[in-house]
Symmetry: C2
Subunit: 438 residues, 2 copies
């Protein structure tokens, strides 16, 4: 059951002033979780919650007694160095903790709230991976993305016969997932150009980003015990942005018959703040409406709650900034804007499908949606689609053109939810720059 | 550099009598590492070394002072609950420790060696995963397997154009890797028979095993820092057997375009003892000799050491035992026998390729070879190949027939090295039974 609770009340105000700005990603109605440290690699990592331009340090808040009365398990999970323990506690614990944090940060007339001492400027913190990610799985849940990409290879028959039945996915590489801001080294690999007889090992010439949404597994399941579609959302802790960097030339040469491997495993970037399902509750919407001629999902992927509220209306944007643009003080150029509500498969369907063979998920596992592309041409979530396989170019404000990413280019993903009568809930940014020294 | 040291001396004898039997998998020349516990799930897991039909408990040996004088890092790693720390220490540490263990277990005329108290019967121990496996990668390194499988789909053109250039691989699922003896629940999933218009969700009817060799990463590499072919073996801690259980009907319907997913992620079984490179040194052999018309590996996958000694001559066997066979006291039936030396790509080439895009490996990561099939028909490492896609059957001694695995069937993988003038070095068994209650 997806329901909106009092923590989403738009009339709530925080004593952290910056959180009350209408265009803040992190008002008191959001309260996303992350892991940070201050003062370099010798310092320990701690769990925090974003509020305006500040972070509430949950660890020091707990030591100050602000979580007194909450179950011992929650207090222990708050003191951990990442979110895995908290993720494993389940929805009741997550909502209980959110309610308390909302109370701590709420403006109630006191001039010096006790939590002031636990507040840190975001600019002083280094954001780390929110969880130890055991396994990372990447789906292919946008039918528009699958169709656009398929057209490049099979113009007359872009979509494979299994697409409308199977939430297609592949296992990704967990070790190379990093948080926003980590620079990306252009990968080398085997590539073979159409006019070449044999492949060469060289730097990728078709480096791309993919705009995706990720979701973290909360409580897991035992091996051999699938999670039903009715229960699927209970196992999801929250969502983030994902940039699934892709080397298209490496991918084209390597992917038959076992799928993408080195074309993806050199780096994946995620946004550091995990936005919870409670925060997203006001923005739930019907699952993608299939065309009349489309088959219904098989019954294990189908229930009425999922049909009615399985979608989430998250606006997603990708921007690019070249070194020249930054030198000239030009703002990043928006490459696309779309919505997560246009995904063919819901997050519940992806999770249920993943476990339908008995595969066990663990707290902290990351599932990602695959490239989020929408129906319109302005909602294509990667350069491969935007430039139709590199056959056209994007013009930057400096007059530069791009078919794929150049060294020094920075890609910035943004996500936010806006709805009349509710506070804006944002994801912050997911940034990554292609290193110049590669 | 691969060289044979004094710990492989065939004249060495152990005071553990069972280790001196010529057909023991675990003589004093082997000394594989594993993780075990005695007395149920409340007991802690400890590192041990197999010797004959016993386990030397390294933790209690260390507490008894048997590792005195070794560097502190090694003693700490020995006391850990899994092998990740030791794996991360690198080749010099591994060889130093092996040398000491060989000394501890060597017969030198004492009647009551100090280590006697640290010896445990294997039958009293429960073997656990040897390491926390961060990422699991499965290759496709047998050209015979790739050709046999390719023929089922493309009789005239079985091998894809990239095969002889690219050590093809895909990311596997780490969470569902278990040790030998774990029972396997037949997975359900979407399958579509040739005569059906739409898929159904049902129990797999084409459940298969895959006979593979796995190797554990020791010291890893930083993101963006590839490991050269010359250095690759230094990063490999040791080898084990792997059964990559596969649901062929689920695989056929799901695998386009992103590769196998639920067809594999329901379970992977590994043998519990990791045989080190030092133990395997006597059995090194030239890398697979390519046909004259085959291309040479690209230079990043090529060096003379790898050509001369990149292979390992491990005999690999798969057996099946049905419930009827067990009831009638009939021994398991051998389905195949081949050698790991027939793999098209060496373990060094697989590891170097994996990092060639800058992907970071971590201590405890598992890489597997893919199905080991040889040139001869009797060396086919899975039922898909043996029964040519299920079009023929294997006859069991009871008169039963199998195209794929039936409930209650047990698959047993065995591996061992034998060579004139050296002690046998075995891998033990990798067992798994398809549950009857599914």
């Amino acid at each position: 059951m997806i329901s909106i609770n009092a923590t989403s009340d738009p009339s709530l105000r925080s004593w952290v002033e910056s959180a009350n700005s209408p265009d803040s990603d992190f008002p008191i109605q959001n309260l996303p979780f992350g892991v940070f440290r201050c003062g370099g690699i010798t310092e320990s990592s701690q769990i925090g919650v974003a509020i305006g331009d500040r972070i509430l340090n949950l660890s020091s808040s707990c030591q100050a007694g602000l979580f007194q009365g909450l179950p011992q398990e929650i207090q222990e999970a708050i003191l951990a160095s990442n979110l895995n323990l908290l993720m494993g506690l389940g929805q009741i614990a997550w909502s209980t903790l959110r309610d308390r944090i909302s109370n701590i940060l709420r403006w109630n007339g006191e001039t010096t709230p006790a939590a002031t001492a636990s507040l840190i400027p975001m600019s002083d913190a280094e954001m780390l991976l929110p969880a130890s990610i055991g396994d990372y799985t990447d789906f292919y849940a946008s039918i528009f993305h699958a169709t656009n990409v398929g057209k490049l290879f099979r113009p007359d028959n872009p979509l494979l016969p299994n697409y409308k039945y199977v939430p297609i996915a592949y296992h990704g590489r967990a070790s190379s997932i990093f948080t926003s801001g980590t620079s990306i080294k252009r990968p080398s690999g085997q590539t073979k150009k159409p006019d070449e007889q044999i492949p060469s090992f060289r730097a990728s010439q078709r480096l791309d980003y993919e705009l995706e949404v990720g979701f973290f597994v909360g409580s897991g399941n035992e091996l051999g015990q699938p999670i039903t579609i009715e229960k699927a959302e209970e196992h999801i802790f929250g969502l983030c942005l994902v940039n699934d960097w892709s080397a298209r030339d490496i991918q084209a040469w390597e992917y038959q018959p076992l799928g993408p491997f080195l074309a993806k495993s050199f780096a994946t970037t995620i946004s550091p703040w995990i936005v919870t399902k409670d925060a997203l509750a006001p923005f739930r919407c019907p699952a993608f409406q299939r065309a009349k001629e489309d088959p219904l999902p098989l019954s294990y992927l189908s229930d009425s709650d999922n049909t009615q509220l399985g979608g989430i209306d998250i606006t997603l944007e990708a921007f690019i900034s070249s070194p020249q643009m930054r030198e000239q003080g030009i703002e990043p150029l928006r490459l696309s804007r779309g919505s997560f509500k246009q995904m063919y498969w819901t997050i519940a369907q992806m999770l249920t499908h993943h476990t339908s063979n008995g595969c066990n998920l663990r707290a902290g596992d990351l599932l990602a949606s695959g490239t989020v592309s929408g129906e319109s041409d302005s909602a294509r979530g990667c350069l491969l689609e935007i430039t139709q396989g590199g056959s056209s170019t994007v013009e930057l404000p400096t007059g530069e053109v791009r078919s794929f990413l150049a060294d020094g280019d920075e890609v910035i993903l943004r996500g936010y939810c806006e709805k009349e009568g509710f506070a804006r809930v944002g994801f912050g940014e997911c940034r990554g720059m292609i290193r110049l020294d590669t």
